[in-house]
Protein backbone atom coordinates (compact mmCIF):
# COMPACT_ATOMS: atom_id res chain seq x y z
CA UNK A 1 0.00 0.00 0.00
CA UNK A 2 2.85 2.38 0.48
CA UNK A 3 5.83 2.88 -1.72
CA UNK A 4 7.87 3.83 1.31
CA UNK A 5 7.29 0.59 3.18
CA UNK A 6 8.29 -1.56 0.22
CA UNK A 7 11.60 0.06 -0.44
CA UNK A 8 14.79 -1.88 0.10
CA UNK A 9 13.47 -4.32 2.68
CA UNK A 10 15.91 -7.16 3.12
CA UNK A 11 14.36 -10.62 2.77
CA UNK A 12 13.55 -12.29 6.05
CA UNK A 13 16.48 -14.27 7.35
CA UNK A 14 14.60 -16.85 9.39
CA UNK A 15 11.34 -18.72 9.12
CA UNK A 16 8.94 -15.83 9.73
CA UNK A 17 11.53 -14.16 11.92
CA UNK A 18 12.02 -10.41 12.14
CA UNK A 19 14.34 -8.70 9.76
CA UNK A 20 17.37 -8.47 11.98
CA UNK A 21 19.48 -6.83 9.33
CA UNK A 22 19.72 -3.18 10.24
CA UNK A 23 17.23 -1.46 7.98
CA UNK A 24 18.69 1.61 6.40
CA UNK A 25 18.14 4.47 8.87
CA UNK A 26 16.54 6.72 6.29
CA UNK A 27 14.09 4.06 5.13
CA UNK A 28 13.04 3.48 8.72
CA UNK A 29 12.64 7.23 9.32
CA UNK A 30 10.53 7.71 6.18
CA UNK A 31 8.36 4.78 7.14
CA UNK A 32 7.87 6.20 10.63
CA UNK A 33 7.01 9.66 9.33
CA UNK A 34 4.53 8.14 6.89
CA UNK A 35 2.79 6.07 9.60
CA UNK A 36 2.50 8.98 12.05
CA UNK A 37 1.34 11.34 9.29
CA UNK A 38 -1.19 8.86 7.93
CA UNK A 39 -2.59 8.26 11.38
CA UNK A 40 -2.97 12.01 11.92
CA UNK A 41 -5.06 12.28 8.74
CA UNK A 42 -7.26 9.33 9.72
CA UNK A 43 -7.81 10.90 13.13
CA UNK A 44 -8.75 14.25 11.55
CA UNK A 45 -11.17 12.74 9.04
CA UNK A 46 -12.70 10.42 11.63
CA UNK A 47 -13.36 13.25 14.07
CA UNK A 48 -16.72 14.65 12.92
CA UNK A 49 -17.23 17.18 15.75
CA UNK A 50 -13.80 18.63 15.03
CA UNK A 51 -14.58 18.94 11.31
CA UNK A 52 -17.89 20.64 12.03
CA UNK A 53 -16.36 23.00 14.59
CA UNK A 54 -13.59 23.76 12.11
CA UNK A 55 -16.17 25.12 9.69
CA UNK A 56 -18.74 26.54 12.10
CA UNK A 57 -16.38 28.68 14.15
CA UNK A 58 -14.85 30.70 11.27
CA UNK A 59 -18.29 31.11 9.67
CA UNK A 60 -19.49 32.56 12.95
CA UNK A 61 -16.56 34.96 13.18
CA UNK A 62 -16.68 36.04 9.56
CA UNK A 63 -20.41 36.43 9.07
CA UNK A 64 -21.66 37.38 12.51
CA UNK A 65 -18.70 39.24 14.02
CA UNK A 66 -17.52 40.58 10.66
CA UNK A 67 -20.97 41.90 9.80
CA UNK A 68 -21.60 43.25 13.28
CA UNK A 69 -18.28 45.03 13.53
CA UNK A 70 -18.47 46.46 10.03
CA UNK A 71 -21.52 48.44 11.18
CA UNK A 72 -19.27 50.00 13.80
CA UNK A 73 -16.20 50.36 11.58
CA UNK A 74 -17.77 51.65 8.36
CA UNK A 75 -14.60 52.39 6.44
CA UNK A 76 -11.38 50.37 6.58
CA UNK A 77 -9.41 52.37 4.04
CA UNK A 78 -11.74 51.36 1.25
CA UNK A 79 -11.62 47.62 1.94
CA UNK A 80 -14.81 45.94 3.18
CA UNK A 81 -14.26 45.02 6.82
CA UNK A 82 -15.07 41.38 6.11
CA UNK A 83 -12.25 41.22 3.57
CA UNK A 84 -9.93 42.86 6.07
CA UNK A 85 -11.00 40.41 8.77
CA UNK A 86 -10.77 37.34 6.53
CA UNK A 87 -6.99 36.69 6.83
CA UNK A 88 -7.26 36.95 10.63
CA UNK A 89 -10.12 34.46 10.75
CA UNK A 90 -8.26 32.19 8.32
CA UNK A 91 -5.25 32.33 10.60
CA UNK A 92 -7.34 31.57 13.65
CA UNK A 93 -8.93 28.55 12.02
CA UNK A 94 -5.61 26.98 11.02
CA UNK A 95 -4.11 27.95 14.36
CA UNK A 96 -6.66 25.89 16.25
CA UNK A 97 -6.56 23.01 13.79
CA UNK A 98 -2.78 22.72 13.99
CA UNK A 99 -2.71 23.18 17.73
CA UNK A 100 -5.29 20.45 18.31
CA UNK A 101 -3.33 18.21 16.01
CA UNK A 102 -0.26 18.74 18.20
CA UNK A 103 -2.47 18.13 21.23
CA UNK A 104 -3.10 14.56 20.09
CA UNK A 105 0.37 13.92 21.51
CA UNK A 106 -1.16 14.45 24.94
CA UNK A 107 -4.23 12.32 24.30
CA UNK A 108 -1.98 9.59 22.89
CA UNK A 109 -0.09 9.58 26.15
CA UNK A 110 -3.28 9.51 28.18
CA UNK A 111 -4.76 6.76 26.04
CA UNK A 112 -1.57 4.68 26.18
CA UNK A 113 -0.88 4.61 22.44
CA UNK A 114 2.19 6.79 22.94
CA UNK A 115 3.88 3.81 24.54
CA UNK A 116 3.38 1.72 21.42
CA UNK A 117 5.25 4.38 19.42
CA UNK A 118 7.98 4.94 22.00
CA UNK A 119 8.93 1.26 22.22
CA UNK A 120 9.04 0.79 18.45
CA UNK A 121 12.50 0.47 16.87
CA UNK A 122 12.25 3.94 15.35
CA UNK A 123 13.76 7.34 15.97
CA UNK A 124 11.86 9.77 18.15
CA UNK A 125 12.72 12.66 15.84
CA UNK A 126 10.94 10.84 13.00
CA UNK A 127 7.82 10.52 15.16
CA UNK A 128 7.88 14.25 15.92
CA UNK A 129 8.50 15.17 12.31
CA UNK A 130 5.59 12.99 11.17
CA UNK A 131 3.38 14.66 13.75
CA UNK A 132 4.33 18.12 12.44
CA UNK A 133 3.72 17.08 8.84
CA UNK A 134 0.32 15.70 9.87
CA UNK A 135 -0.56 19.02 11.49
CA UNK A 136 0.67 20.85 8.40
CA UNK A 137 -1.55 18.77 6.17
CA UNK A 138 -4.75 19.09 8.18
CA UNK A 139 -4.04 22.79 8.85
CA UNK A 140 -3.54 23.53 5.17
CA UNK A 141 -6.68 21.57 4.35
CA UNK A 142 -8.55 23.69 6.90
CA UNK A 143 -7.14 26.77 5.17
CA UNK A 144 -8.54 25.57 1.85
CA UNK A 145 -11.95 25.10 3.44
CA UNK A 146 -11.59 28.68 4.70
CA UNK A 147 -10.94 29.94 1.18
CA UNK A 148 -14.25 28.44 0.09
CA UNK A 149 -16.02 30.07 3.05
CA UNK A 150 -14.26 33.35 2.20
CA UNK A 151 -15.43 33.18 -1.40
CA UNK A 152 -19.01 32.66 -0.19
CA UNK A 153 -18.60 35.65 2.15
CA UNK A 154 -17.68 37.79 -0.83
CA UNK A 155 -13.91 38.02 -0.40
CA UNK A 156 -12.43 38.47 -3.91
CA UNK A 157 -10.58 35.35 -5.04
CA UNK A 158 -8.04 34.59 -7.72
CA UNK A 159 -5.96 31.58 -8.67
CA UNK A 160 -2.85 33.45 -7.59
CA UNK A 161 -4.38 34.09 -4.16
CA UNK A 162 -5.28 30.44 -3.67
CA UNK A 163 -1.80 29.22 -4.67
CA UNK A 164 -0.05 31.87 -2.55
CA UNK A 165 -2.16 31.18 0.53
CA UNK A 166 -1.62 27.42 0.28
CA UNK A 167 2.16 27.81 -0.06
CA UNK A 168 2.28 30.25 2.85
CA UNK A 169 0.08 27.97 4.94
CA UNK A 170 2.48 25.05 4.49
CA UNK A 171 5.16 27.05 6.29
CA UNK A 172 2.83 28.60 8.84
CA UNK A 173 1.02 25.37 9.74
CA UNK A 174 4.30 23.50 10.19
CA UNK A 175 5.52 26.21 12.55
CA UNK A 176 2.31 26.29 14.58
CA UNK A 177 2.22 22.50 14.91
CA UNK A 178 5.88 22.45 15.94
CA UNK A 179 5.10 25.08 18.57
CA UNK A 180 2.14 23.04 19.80
CA UNK A 181 4.26 19.87 19.90
CA UNK A 182 6.95 21.66 21.93
CA UNK A 183 4.30 22.56 24.50
CA UNK A 184 2.53 19.19 24.37
CA UNK A 185 5.75 17.22 24.86
CA UNK A 186 5.73 18.15 28.55
CA UNK A 187 2.04 18.14 29.31
CA UNK A 188 0.54 14.99 30.86
CA UNK A 189 -3.20 15.67 30.71
CA UNK A 190 -5.66 17.07 28.20
CA UNK A 191 -6.85 19.52 30.87
CA UNK A 192 -3.30 20.79 31.19
CA UNK A 193 -3.08 21.23 27.45
CA UNK A 194 -6.37 23.14 27.37
CA UNK A 195 -5.04 25.44 30.08
CA UNK A 196 -1.92 26.07 27.97
CA UNK A 197 -4.18 26.84 25.04
CA UNK A 198 -5.80 29.60 27.09
CA UNK A 199 -2.51 30.95 28.40
CA UNK A 200 -0.42 30.74 25.21
CA UNK A 201 -2.67 30.70 22.19
CA UNK A 202 -5.24 33.41 22.88
CA UNK A 203 -2.73 36.14 23.84
CA UNK A 204 -0.66 35.23 20.79
CA UNK A 205 -3.70 35.46 18.59
CA UNK A 206 -4.93 38.77 20.00
CA UNK A 207 -1.45 40.33 19.85
CA UNK A 208 -0.89 39.27 16.26
CA UNK A 209 -2.90 42.04 14.64
CA UNK A 210 -5.18 39.42 13.10
CA UNK A 211 -8.21 41.44 14.13
CA UNK A 212 -6.91 45.05 13.81
CA UNK A 213 -4.45 47.09 11.74
CA UNK A 214 -0.83 47.24 12.86
CA UNK A 215 -0.47 51.00 12.54
CA UNK A 216 -1.73 53.70 14.86
CA UNK A 217 -1.41 51.50 17.95
CA UNK A 218 -0.05 52.65 21.32
CA UNK A 219 3.66 52.03 21.72
CA UNK A 220 3.31 49.10 24.16
CA UNK A 221 0.97 47.26 21.81
CA UNK A 222 3.29 47.96 18.87
CA UNK A 223 6.11 46.31 20.81
CA UNK A 224 3.88 43.36 21.73
CA UNK A 225 2.72 42.76 18.16
CA UNK A 226 6.30 42.81 16.86
CA UNK A 227 7.37 40.24 19.46
CA UNK A 228 4.49 37.90 18.63
CA UNK A 229 5.60 35.29 16.06
CA UNK A 230 2.03 34.98 14.88
CA UNK A 231 2.19 38.58 13.58
CA UNK A 232 4.62 37.40 10.92
CA UNK A 233 2.21 34.61 9.96
CA UNK A 234 -0.81 36.93 9.61
CA UNK A 235 0.95 39.61 7.54
CA UNK A 236 1.71 37.47 4.45
CA UNK A 237 -1.80 36.03 4.43
CA UNK A 238 -3.35 39.47 4.68
CA UNK A 239 -1.10 40.81 1.94
CA UNK A 240 -2.17 37.98 -0.37
CA UNK A 241 -5.87 38.54 0.31
CA UNK A 242 -5.74 42.32 -0.17
CA UNK A 243 -3.60 41.85 -3.26
CA UNK A 244 -6.39 39.84 -4.81
CA UNK A 245 -8.76 42.76 -4.13
CA UNK A 246 -6.32 45.04 -5.93
CA UNK A 247 -5.59 46.76 -2.62
CA UNK A 248 -2.09 45.43 -1.92
CA UNK A 249 -0.94 48.92 -1.05
CA UNK A 250 -3.37 48.97 1.85
CA UNK A 251 -2.10 45.75 3.41
CA UNK A 252 -0.63 46.63 6.77
CA UNK A 253 2.96 45.41 6.65
CA UNK A 254 4.98 44.70 9.77
CA UNK A 255 7.42 47.52 10.48
CA UNK A 256 10.46 47.65 12.76
CA UNK A 257 10.96 51.33 13.44
CA UNK A 258 11.10 52.67 9.91
CA UNK A 259 11.96 49.33 8.27
CA UNK A 260 9.13 47.60 6.40
CA UNK A 261 9.53 43.84 6.78
CA UNK A 262 9.12 42.18 3.37
CA UNK A 263 6.81 39.19 2.99
CA UNK A 264 9.68 36.74 2.39
CA UNK A 265 11.32 37.82 5.62
CA UNK A 266 8.02 37.30 7.46
CA UNK A 267 8.02 33.72 6.24
CA UNK A 268 11.69 33.22 7.08
CA UNK A 269 10.93 34.37 10.64
CA UNK A 270 8.04 31.89 10.83
CA UNK A 271 10.25 29.08 9.55
CA UNK A 272 12.97 30.01 12.05
CA UNK A 273 10.41 29.86 14.86
CA UNK A 274 9.47 26.36 13.64
CA UNK A 275 13.10 25.23 13.93
CA UNK A 276 13.39 26.69 17.42
CA UNK A 277 10.17 24.93 18.46
CA UNK A 278 11.45 21.61 17.09
CA UNK A 279 14.77 22.10 18.86
CA UNK A 280 12.87 22.59 22.12
CA UNK A 281 10.45 19.71 21.48
CA UNK A 282 12.95 17.02 20.54
CA UNK A 283 14.95 16.71 23.77
CA UNK A 284 11.72 16.95 25.77
CA UNK A 285 10.21 14.15 23.75
CA UNK A 286 13.34 11.99 23.69
CA UNK A 287 13.63 12.01 27.45
CA UNK A 288 10.16 10.52 27.70
CA UNK A 289 10.62 6.95 28.90
CA UNK A 290 7.22 5.71 27.79
Amino acid sequence: MSAVAQRNEPPEPRRGGPSTARAAGLTSDLRTIKVVWHRELLRFIGDRPRLIAGVAQPVLYLFVMGTGLSAMVPVTSGVPFRTFLFPGVLCMAVLFTCFFSAGSLVSDREGGFMREMLVAPVRRSAILFGKCLGGTTVGTFQGMVMLVIGAIAGVPMSLELVVTVILELLVICFAITAFGVALAARVRTIQGFMALLQVALFPMFFASGALYPLSGLPAWLVALTRLDPLTYAVAPLRHAVLDASGQAALAPMVTWGGFVVPIWLDLVIVAACALVALAVALPRFSRDDA
Partner: protein, 326 residues
Protein backbone atom coordinates in the same frame (compact mmCIF):
# COMPACT_ATOMS: atom_id res chain seq x y z
CA UNK B 1 28.81 -10.76 23.28
CA UNK B 2 30.68 -13.73 24.58
CA UNK B 3 30.14 -17.43 24.25
CA UNK B 4 27.90 -19.36 21.91
CA UNK B 5 25.62 -20.42 24.76
CA UNK B 6 24.65 -16.78 25.21
CA UNK B 7 23.73 -16.66 21.53
CA UNK B 8 21.63 -19.75 21.89
CA UNK B 9 19.57 -18.65 24.88
CA UNK B 10 16.65 -16.31 24.14
CA UNK B 11 17.33 -14.21 27.23
CA UNK B 12 20.57 -13.97 29.20
CA UNK B 13 20.69 -11.85 32.35
CA UNK B 14 23.91 -11.40 34.35
CA UNK B 15 24.27 -9.53 37.63
CA UNK B 16 21.48 -7.15 36.78
CA UNK B 17 20.93 -4.26 39.19
CA UNK B 18 18.72 -1.20 39.16
CA UNK B 19 18.62 1.64 41.65
CA UNK B 20 16.21 4.53 41.67
CA UNK B 21 17.86 6.96 44.06
CA UNK B 22 17.75 5.19 47.42
CA UNK B 23 15.48 2.42 46.22
CA UNK B 24 17.36 -0.72 45.22
CA UNK B 25 14.66 -2.20 42.99
CA UNK B 26 16.71 -5.04 41.47
CA UNK B 27 19.61 -6.35 43.54
CA UNK B 28 21.77 -8.40 41.21
CA UNK B 29 19.86 -11.16 39.42
CA UNK B 30 21.05 -13.86 37.01
CA UNK B 31 18.97 -16.13 34.82
CA UNK B 32 18.63 -17.54 31.32
CA UNK B 33 15.58 -18.34 29.26
CA UNK B 34 15.88 -20.94 26.50
CA UNK B 35 14.31 -20.56 23.08
CA UNK B 36 10.71 -21.73 22.98
CA UNK B 37 10.35 -21.68 26.74
CA UNK B 38 7.40 -20.21 28.64
CA UNK B 39 9.11 -18.47 31.52
CA UNK B 40 7.17 -16.94 34.38
CA UNK B 41 8.23 -14.23 36.78
CA UNK B 42 6.33 -14.67 40.00
CA UNK B 43 6.37 -12.34 42.94
CA UNK B 44 4.43 -9.74 44.86
CA UNK B 45 4.03 -6.18 43.62
CA UNK B 46 7.17 -4.23 44.40
CA UNK B 47 9.43 -7.29 44.09
CA UNK B 48 11.19 -5.83 41.04
CA UNK B 49 9.37 -7.74 38.29
CA UNK B 50 8.24 -4.66 36.41
CA UNK B 51 11.66 -3.04 36.66
CA UNK B 52 13.30 -6.18 35.28
CA UNK B 53 10.85 -6.39 32.39
CA UNK B 54 11.38 -2.67 31.66
CA UNK B 55 15.15 -3.24 31.41
CA UNK B 56 14.72 -6.29 29.18
CA UNK B 57 12.40 -4.26 26.91
CA UNK B 58 14.97 -1.41 26.68
CA UNK B 59 12.63 0.99 28.49
CA UNK B 60 15.00 1.43 31.44
CA UNK B 61 18.79 1.28 31.67
CA UNK B 62 20.35 -1.08 34.22
CA UNK B 63 22.54 0.44 36.95
CA UNK B 64 24.88 -2.56 36.77
CA UNK B 65 25.07 -5.91 35.03
CA UNK B 66 23.91 -6.86 31.55
CA UNK B 67 21.01 -8.39 29.69
CA UNK B 68 20.76 -9.74 26.15
CA UNK B 69 17.74 -10.77 24.09
CA UNK B 70 18.34 -13.12 21.15
CA UNK B 71 22.03 -12.23 21.48
CA UNK B 72 21.51 -8.46 21.37
CA UNK B 73 22.55 -6.29 24.28
CA UNK B 74 19.62 -4.29 25.67
CA UNK B 75 21.72 -1.16 26.12
CA UNK B 76 24.08 -1.14 23.14
CA UNK B 77 21.80 -2.77 20.54
CA UNK B 78 18.49 -1.26 21.53
CA UNK B 79 16.78 -1.17 18.14
CA UNK B 80 17.80 -4.75 17.33
CA UNK B 81 16.32 -5.85 20.67
CA UNK B 82 13.14 -3.93 19.96
CA UNK B 83 12.72 -5.58 16.58
CA UNK B 84 13.08 -8.98 18.22
CA UNK B 85 10.55 -8.57 21.01
CA UNK B 86 6.80 -8.23 21.21
CA UNK B 87 5.31 -6.36 24.15
CA UNK B 88 1.95 -6.56 25.82
CA UNK B 89 1.62 -4.17 28.72
CA UNK B 90 -0.89 -4.20 31.54
CA UNK B 91 -2.55 -1.02 30.29
CA UNK B 92 -3.86 -0.87 26.74
CA UNK B 93 -1.62 0.84 24.19
CA UNK B 94 -3.99 0.52 21.23
CA UNK B 95 -5.26 3.46 19.23
CA UNK B 96 -8.93 3.29 20.13
CA UNK B 97 -10.02 5.57 17.30
CA UNK B 98 -8.63 3.33 14.60
CA UNK B 99 -9.88 -0.06 13.46
CA UNK B 100 -8.32 -3.25 14.76
CA UNK B 101 -6.79 -3.95 11.37
CA UNK B 102 -5.32 -0.46 11.05
CA UNK B 103 -3.67 -0.77 14.47
CA UNK B 104 -1.86 -3.88 13.32
CA UNK B 105 -1.01 -2.41 9.94
CA UNK B 106 0.66 0.64 11.50
CA UNK B 107 2.51 -1.60 13.92
CA UNK B 108 3.85 -3.75 11.08
CA UNK B 109 4.99 -0.68 9.17
CA UNK B 110 6.71 0.83 12.22
CA UNK B 111 8.59 -2.43 12.77
CA UNK B 112 9.58 -2.67 9.13
CA UNK B 113 7.68 -5.84 8.26
CA UNK B 114 8.02 -6.20 4.46
CA UNK B 115 4.86 -5.03 2.70
CA UNK B 116 4.47 -8.28 0.76
CA UNK B 117 4.18 -10.42 3.89
CA UNK B 118 2.37 -7.96 6.15
CA UNK B 119 -1.27 -8.54 5.02
CA UNK B 120 -0.91 -12.30 5.34
CA UNK B 121 0.80 -11.99 8.74
CA UNK B 122 -1.95 -9.71 10.04
CA UNK B 123 -4.67 -12.10 8.91
CA UNK B 124 -2.86 -15.01 10.56
CA UNK B 125 -2.49 -13.35 13.97
CA UNK B 126 -6.01 -11.90 13.93
CA UNK B 127 -7.47 -15.29 13.12
CA UNK B 128 -5.43 -16.81 15.92
CA UNK B 129 -7.04 -14.52 18.50
CA UNK B 130 -10.45 -14.85 16.84
CA UNK B 131 -10.82 -11.21 15.85
CA UNK B 132 -10.56 -11.46 12.07
CA UNK B 133 -14.30 -10.93 11.63
CA UNK B 134 -14.04 -7.75 13.71
CA UNK B 135 -11.02 -6.37 11.86
CA UNK B 136 -12.84 -3.31 10.54
CA UNK B 137 -14.39 -2.31 13.87
CA UNK B 138 -12.97 0.61 15.83
CA UNK B 139 -11.02 -0.61 18.85
CA UNK B 140 -13.16 1.65 21.07
CA UNK B 141 -16.06 -0.78 20.51
CA UNK B 142 -14.06 -3.73 21.90
CA UNK B 143 -14.41 -5.25 25.38
CA UNK B 144 -11.42 -5.45 27.73
CA UNK B 145 -10.77 -9.07 26.81
CA UNK B 146 -10.94 -8.37 23.08
CA UNK B 147 -8.47 -5.51 23.46
CA UNK B 148 -6.02 -7.73 25.31
CA UNK B 149 -6.35 -10.39 22.60
CA UNK B 150 -5.78 -7.76 19.93
CA UNK B 151 -2.68 -6.51 21.76
CA UNK B 152 -1.28 -10.02 21.85
CA UNK B 153 -1.95 -10.31 18.12
CA UNK B 154 -0.26 -6.97 17.51
CA UNK B 155 2.75 -8.04 19.57
CA UNK B 156 3.17 -10.96 17.16
CA UNK B 157 2.81 -9.09 13.85
CA UNK B 158 6.57 -8.62 13.49
CA UNK B 159 7.20 -12.30 14.44
CA UNK B 160 9.30 -11.57 17.52
CA UNK B 161 11.69 -14.07 19.06
CA UNK B 162 10.45 -13.25 22.53
CA UNK B 163 6.97 -12.15 23.56
CA UNK B 164 6.81 -10.21 26.82
CA UNK B 165 3.49 -10.30 28.62
CA UNK B 166 3.20 -8.13 31.72
CA UNK B 167 0.36 -9.57 33.80
CA UNK B 168 -1.41 -10.74 30.62
CA UNK B 169 -4.65 -11.84 32.24
CA UNK B 170 -5.08 -9.27 34.98
CA UNK B 171 -8.63 -7.98 35.22
CA UNK B 172 -9.98 -10.52 32.75
CA UNK B 173 -12.82 -12.99 33.21
CA UNK B 174 -11.88 -16.69 33.71
CA UNK B 175 -12.95 -17.67 30.21
CA UNK B 176 -10.76 -15.04 28.53
CA UNK B 177 -7.90 -15.97 30.84
CA UNK B 178 -8.03 -19.57 29.73
CA UNK B 179 -8.36 -18.47 26.08
CA UNK B 180 -5.19 -16.41 26.42
CA UNK B 181 -3.37 -19.36 27.94
CA UNK B 182 -4.53 -21.34 24.92
CA UNK B 183 -2.69 -18.84 22.67
CA UNK B 184 0.43 -19.04 24.79
CA UNK B 185 0.46 -22.82 24.41
CA UNK B 186 -0.13 -22.51 20.68
CA UNK B 187 2.71 -20.03 20.29
CA UNK B 188 5.14 -22.37 21.96
CA UNK B 189 4.06 -25.49 20.10
CA UNK B 190 3.50 -24.11 16.61
CA UNK B 191 5.92 -21.20 16.36
CA UNK B 192 8.55 -21.85 19.00
CA UNK B 193 8.12 -18.34 20.35
CA UNK B 194 9.73 -17.70 23.71
CA UNK B 195 7.25 -16.24 26.17
CA UNK B 196 8.33 -14.22 29.18
CA UNK B 197 5.50 -13.28 31.49
CA UNK B 198 4.99 -11.77 34.89
CA UNK B 199 2.15 -12.77 37.11
CA UNK B 200 1.07 -12.90 40.67
CA UNK B 201 -1.53 -15.55 40.03
CA UNK B 202 -0.22 -18.85 41.40
CA UNK B 203 -2.35 -20.96 39.07
CA UNK B 204 -0.84 -19.17 36.08
CA UNK B 205 2.71 -19.60 37.27
CA UNK B 206 1.96 -23.34 37.47
CA UNK B 207 1.44 -23.40 33.69
CA UNK B 208 4.92 -22.07 32.87
CA UNK B 209 7.81 -24.33 31.87
CA UNK B 210 9.96 -22.60 34.45
CA UNK B 211 9.30 -20.01 37.10
CA UNK B 212 11.57 -17.50 38.77
CA UNK B 213 10.31 -16.42 42.15
CA UNK B 214 11.29 -12.86 42.93
CA UNK B 215 11.18 -11.10 46.25
CA UNK B 216 12.66 -7.78 47.37
CA UNK B 217 14.75 -7.35 44.21
CA UNK B 218 16.25 -10.84 44.24
CA UNK B 219 15.44 -14.15 42.60
CA UNK B 220 14.93 -16.59 45.47
CA UNK B 221 14.28 -19.70 43.36
CA UNK B 222 14.22 -20.75 39.68
CA UNK B 223 12.97 -23.97 38.16
CA UNK B 224 10.05 -25.94 36.81
CA UNK B 225 7.02 -25.52 39.11
CA UNK B 226 6.90 -29.24 39.93
CA UNK B 227 10.56 -29.28 40.95
CA UNK B 228 10.22 -26.18 43.10
CA UNK B 229 7.28 -27.69 44.85
CA UNK B 230 9.07 -30.99 45.34
CA UNK B 231 11.90 -29.08 46.98
CA UNK B 232 9.47 -27.78 49.58
CA UNK B 233 8.74 -31.43 50.14
CA UNK B 234 5.70 -31.30 52.29
CA UNK B 235 2.06 -32.03 51.67
CA UNK B 236 -0.59 -30.17 53.56
CA UNK B 237 -3.09 -32.41 55.33
CA UNK B 238 -6.40 -31.03 56.53
CA UNK B 239 -8.57 -33.00 58.88
CA UNK B 240 -12.09 -32.58 60.21
CA UNK B 241 -13.05 -34.59 63.28
CA UNK B 242 -15.76 -34.76 65.94
CA UNK B 243 -13.29 -33.77 68.68
CA UNK B 244 -10.46 -31.61 67.42
CA UNK B 245 -8.69 -31.23 70.77
CA UNK B 246 -8.55 -35.00 71.26
CA UNK B 247 -7.40 -35.50 67.67
CA UNK B 248 -4.54 -33.03 68.05
CA UNK B 249 -3.46 -34.74 71.26
CA UNK B 250 -3.61 -38.14 69.58
CA UNK B 251 -1.58 -36.89 66.60
CA UNK B 252 1.11 -35.65 68.94
CA UNK B 253 1.29 -38.80 71.03
CA UNK B 254 0.88 -41.53 68.44
CA UNK B 255 2.28 -40.00 65.25
CA UNK B 256 4.58 -37.28 66.65
CA UNK B 257 2.91 -34.65 64.46
CA UNK B 258 2.35 -31.06 65.59
CA UNK B 259 -0.99 -29.90 64.20
CA UNK B 260 -2.80 -26.59 64.45
CA UNK B 261 -6.26 -25.37 63.75
CA UNK B 262 -6.61 -23.05 60.76
CA UNK B 263 -10.09 -21.97 59.66
CA UNK B 264 -11.81 -24.60 61.85
CA UNK B 265 -9.72 -27.36 60.34
CA UNK B 266 -6.82 -29.30 61.81
CA UNK B 267 -3.86 -28.60 59.54
CA UNK B 268 -0.36 -30.07 59.43
CA UNK B 269 2.45 -30.71 56.96
CA UNK B 270 4.11 -34.07 56.30
CA UNK B 271 6.58 -35.30 53.65
CA UNK B 272 4.10 -37.69 52.08
CA UNK B 273 0.45 -37.15 52.91
CA UNK B 274 -0.95 -40.15 51.05
CA UNK B 275 1.26 -42.66 52.81
CA UNK B 276 0.22 -41.24 56.16
CA UNK B 277 -3.51 -41.78 55.56
CA UNK B 278 -3.74 -45.53 56.43
CA UNK B 279 -1.90 -44.96 59.71
CA UNK B 280 -4.07 -41.96 60.42
CA UNK B 281 -7.27 -44.03 60.15
CA UNK B 282 -5.76 -46.94 62.08
CA UNK B 283 -4.31 -45.06 65.00
CA UNK B 284 -6.65 -42.13 65.52
CA UNK B 285 -9.46 -43.14 67.83
CA UNK B 286 -11.43 -39.92 67.29
CA UNK B 287 -14.11 -40.24 64.53
CA UNK B 288 -12.84 -38.57 61.34
CA UNK B 289 -15.34 -36.64 59.24
CA UNK B 290 -13.14 -35.71 56.30
CA UNK B 291 -9.48 -35.65 55.21
CA UNK B 292 -7.83 -33.75 52.41
CA UNK B 293 -4.23 -33.95 51.23
CA UNK B 294 -2.85 -31.08 49.16
CA UNK B 295 0.41 -31.04 47.24
CA UNK B 296 2.52 -27.96 47.98
CA UNK B 297 1.56 -24.97 45.84
CA UNK B 298 3.89 -22.25 44.60
CA UNK B 299 2.43 -20.28 47.47
CA UNK B 300 4.11 -22.77 49.82
CA UNK B 301 7.29 -22.48 47.75
CA UNK B 302 7.27 -18.72 48.16
CA UNK B 303 6.61 -19.11 51.86
CA UNK B 304 9.44 -21.60 52.35
CA UNK B 305 11.99 -19.45 50.47
CA UNK B 306 11.06 -16.09 51.92
CA UNK B 307 9.46 -16.95 55.25
CA UNK B 308 6.43 -14.87 54.36
CA UNK B 309 3.35 -15.22 52.20
CA UNK B 310 3.02 -13.33 48.92
CA UNK B 311 0.25 -11.20 50.36
CA UNK B 312 2.31 -10.14 53.39
CA UNK B 313 5.35 -9.47 51.19
CA UNK B 314 3.22 -7.22 49.02
CA UNK B 315 2.00 -5.22 52.00
CA UNK B 316 5.49 -4.73 53.45
CA UNK B 317 6.98 -3.83 50.02
CA UNK B 318 4.35 -1.14 49.71
CA UNK B 319 5.09 0.41 53.08
CA UNK B 320 8.85 0.21 52.41
CA UNK B 321 8.41 2.07 49.14
CA UNK B 322 6.35 4.85 50.61
CA UNK B 323 8.87 5.09 53.43
CA UNK B 324 11.75 5.44 50.98
CA UNK B 325 9.98 8.17 49.06
CA UNK B 326 9.54 10.35 52.09
Amino acid sequence: MSGSSERRAAIVVRGLEKRYGDVHAVRGIDFEVEHGEVFGFLGPNGAGKSTTIAILCTLAAPTAGSAAIAGYDVVRERDAVRRNIGLVFQETTLDEYLTAHRNLLFHGELYGVPADVLPERIEQVMRMVGLWDRKDSAVSTFSGGMKRRLEIARGLVHAPNVLFLDEPTIGLDPQTRSTIWGYIGELRERHGTTVFLTTHYMDEAERCDRVAIMDAGKIVAVGPPAKLKAAVGKDRVQLRTDDDAAAIAALREKLRIEAKIHEDTITFAVPSGEELLPRLFAELSVPIRSVSVARPSLDDVFLSFTGTTMRDAEASARSEQTGAKR
